[in-house]
């Protein structure tokens, strides 16, 4: 009993108080910062990019494909590519994930999330999500689990992962969606009562990521049903996820 209390006291309070302004370590690779003037068109970055996220003339990075591996930055001799530690990388529109030179942090924050009144009204105070890993590598899954730990404590905002799609207000999809998971995913979607939202979480879910070329995928689901929110990362950082969802349901 006393040992338990002692352990508890040693731990203190672990939760991040102000999640919307939580600091991030400088080493984190978040929103890219591109500079066309520095680019000399050597194409070295194109050769090392594993997902085809990069384009030249003008420089752009598609965060829906990007694994944030940093290989392009490491290989660039002229400093045309850099990554900031800005982590709020969620958007309601797929195109917004394609970042060019003028996409600053402020600019991205302004356009990223289109707030819908009805979403705010229905889900603003409570959002229960069913997570479906459709061939996710367990990277995003571990980070989504971390969202509910004592540090990030997502539950305090009324956002939780639930066991049954019947209890859920929406799906969070991770992974590139394998053929073998296509049926279960769709089934799960149909079992979720309306109104519901669909969130794509991580490069694999958004674009197939490093698995884009695989013949074992079946991504038809994404053509059939509307997607409400895209959250970039590989894997998605818990702060990215929580802030993305909060921005979407609270419009802040």
């Amino acid at each position: 009993m006393f040992d338990t209390l002692k352990s508890r006291i040693y731990q203190g309070n672990q939760f991040i108080k102000d999640i919307k302004n939580a600091p991030m370590r400088e080493q984190f690779r978040g929103l890219p910062k591109l500079c066309n003037a520095n680019c000399n068109n050597c194409k070295d970055c194109l050769n090392v990019c594993p997902t085809g996220a990069l384009k030249l003339n003008p420089l752009s990075i598609d965060m829906g494909k990007c694994t944030f591996c940093g290989a392009c930055k490491n290989v660039c001799k002229t400093g045309a590519i850099d990554f900031t530690n800005f982590y709020k990388l969620s958007t309601t529109k797929r195109e917004n994930l394609i970042v060019t030179e003028d996409m600053t942090q402020e600019e991205f924050s302004k356009i990223a999330i289109e707030v819908r009144k009805e979403i705010k009204r229905v889900f603003g105070k409570s959002l229960k999500l069913r997570q479906v890993s459709a061939a996710g590598c367990n990277g995003c899954e571990m980070e989504l689990n971390a969202c509910s730990n004592v540090n990030f404590d997502m539950g305090r905002f009324g956002i939780d992962f639930v066991a049954s799609p019947r209890h859920a207000d929406g799906l969070v999809i991770t992974g590139p969606i394998s053929k073998n998971m296509a049926y279960a995913l769709e089934d799960c979607y149909k079992s979720t009562p309306d109104p519901k939202i669909v969130v794509l979480c991580g490069a694999c879910a958004i674009s197939g990521g490093v698995f884009q070329q695989s013949s074992e995928l079946n991504r038809e689901f994404l053509e059939k049903y509307p997607i409400d929110l895209y959250i970039a990362g590989c894997p998605v950082h818990p702060l990215t996820f929580i802030n993305g969802i909060l921005g979407f349901i609270q419009g802040k």
Partner: protein
């Protein structure tokens, strides 16, 4: 000569590998009676298939390699599983990929594909009922299907059907091999899989990696082990409703992975290891901070585990739950942590040590476990403490010396006609990567073996005669990888 004998992290000229008749090789395998780590086919032109067999002799750190050619008309052979059970999953895989049937295999079911043809083992009787779970599970985890045959609360038998995660990784690796792909084979073993891949490529490209880079790699591997073990200690606590443990271990794990973030820009170490070394050096300021953090982690884990082990209600949930006997574990060929928890001495860090690990000259601790959840819990604790102390030791070494470049940018072409093998001990157990090149020096086959491939059957045995409600606990104590198995 029936075998070619090699050490870990080597390449072999494909033409030096003996090619036997299947019946002869079968006899050889049975008489040698070593652990299979590779048993895979490759298209050999004109409808024929070449089967490569790699066996591991853990005591002497030797690998035995041999092969067989099946002509287009040869579509079956007498299965090895009848004699050595550990081959069961390898033969299933070979059959699924190449259609060559192991006759009299007791459990020849689909592995990753053709799930519709999967026939479950059924039991009959008035009292027997089935419980089907998955592919989508209650928590935020990967998909897989579990079928329990129960009598009331008691599980007679569990059958695990996987394959939902199949992404065709082996084919993708041949077409477009990258470090980033290796990191995504299994996202909880980023460092381990990427290390195995990088080593295989370095062998084929004749690239030397500096001592400093090797130390950073080993550091990252041990931090990964510690982080996941701590996370799983938390998950086990959660499953026995000891929420205090879940909270404390969760918060403690955060400290380790945030240190990893400082080293590499990613909480799981993505972008750190690459062919030729590592992408980031670690300066002394970060080292100091890391040593402090890891010391705190050591204390926190130690305090929490000791508190838990004194608690009788915790112990009554851990002890004698989910037992796999040592005998069974050997028979079915368990590897890694799950095998060590049954008292088997197996750890490729020691058995097939690489240069860097050898130079650390660490003492080998033998764990005497009974193969229950308690054993897996305590083993994880022991390994966490070991890994943290190794990590701290390496950090001290990096602080005081080994001032070298951490990346060798030579990009030689791959050696032609070669087979390269690398074994790395991830936190679950041995990860084996094998790459083959053709006469032009392009990759022609890539084979991956995750420890989960061997160990899933261990979980199935562990839950026999336990309550269904203890399944999550058993499952967490193993924490096997779905995508590592499905690839």
């Amino acid at each position: 000569m029936n075998w070619i004998k090699k050490k870990n992290n080597t390449k072999i000229n494909i033409n030096d590998i003996p090619t036997l008749k299947i019946n002869d090789l079968r006899e050889e395998i049975i008489s040698l009676n070593k652990r299979p780590i590779g048993f895979f086919g490759k298209d050999w032109g004109r409808g024929s298939t070449k089967l490569f067999v790699i066996l591991a002799d853990d005591e002497n750190a030797d690998l035995y390699v041999s092969s067989v050619i099946f002509e287009g008309s040869e579509k079956e052979y007498e299965s090895l599983t009848q004699v050595i059970l550990a081959f069961h999953i390898f033969e299933r895989e070979f059959y699924e990929q190449f259609g060559i049937k192991p006759l009299n295999h007791p459990w020849l079911k689909p592995l990753r594909k053709n799930q519709k043809d999967y026939k479950f083992f059924e039991m009959e009787g008035e009292e027997v009922h089935q419980v089907a779970v998955g592919p989508i599970h209650a928590g935020v985890i990967e998909p897989g299907h579990f079928r329990f045959m129960c009598n009331g609360e008691t599980v007679y038998h569990l059958e695990i059907m996987l394959g939902y995660q199949n992404r065709g990784v082996e084919e993708l690796m041949v077409k477009h091999p990258t470090n980033q792909m290796a990191e995504s084979i299994c996202g909880d073993s980023v460092i381990a899989h990427n290390l195995a891949y990088s080593k295989v490529m370095e062998i084929l490209k004749n690239i030397k990696v500096s001592k400093r880079a090797q130390l950073i790699r080993t550091l990252a591997l041990e931090m990964e082990r510690a982080a996941i073990h701590i996370g799983d200690l938390g998950a086990i606590s959660g499953d026995i409703a000891y929420l205090m443990g879940a909270s404390v271990f969760g918060a403690t794990r955060t400290l380790v992975i945030n240190t990893m973030l400082e080293f590499s820009g990613s909480r799981f170490g993505r972008g750190l290891v690459r062919v030729g070394g590592v992408n980031f050096d670690i300066d002394n300021e970060k080292i100091e901070r890391a040593i402090k953090t890891l010391t705190k982690v050591e204390k926190d884990v130690d305090r929490m585990v000791k508190t838990m082990l004194k608690n009788t209600s915790v112990m009554s949930r851990l002890e004698k739950t989910g037992v796999v006997s040592q005998e069974k574990a050997r028979e079915i060929g368990l590897v890694g942590m799950a095998a060590r928890a049954c008292g088997i001495v197996i750890d490729s860090r020691f058995d097939f040590a690489d240069e860097c690990f050898k130079n650390l000259a660490l003492p080998r601790k033998i764990f005497k476990g009974k193969g229950d959840v308690n054993a897996r819990f305590q083993l994880r604790y022991q390994e966490t403490m070991e890994s943290l102390s190794i990590a701290k030791r390496i950090l001290e070494m990096l602080k005081n010396g080994f001032k070298e470049e951490v990346l060798n940018l030579n990009n030689n072409s791959l050696c032609a006609d070669s087979l390269a093998i690398s074994i790395t001990e991830g936190w679950r157990g041995e990860i084996v990567h094998i790459a083959l090149t053709d006469m032009n020096g392009t990759l022609s086959r890539y084979k991956i073996k995750d420890p989960s491939f061997n160990n899933w059957y261990g979980l199935a045995l562990a839950v026999r005669n336990n309550g269904v409600s203890d399944f999550p606990l058993c499952n967490k104590s193993f924490n096997l990888s779905y995508c590592g198995n499905d690839l």
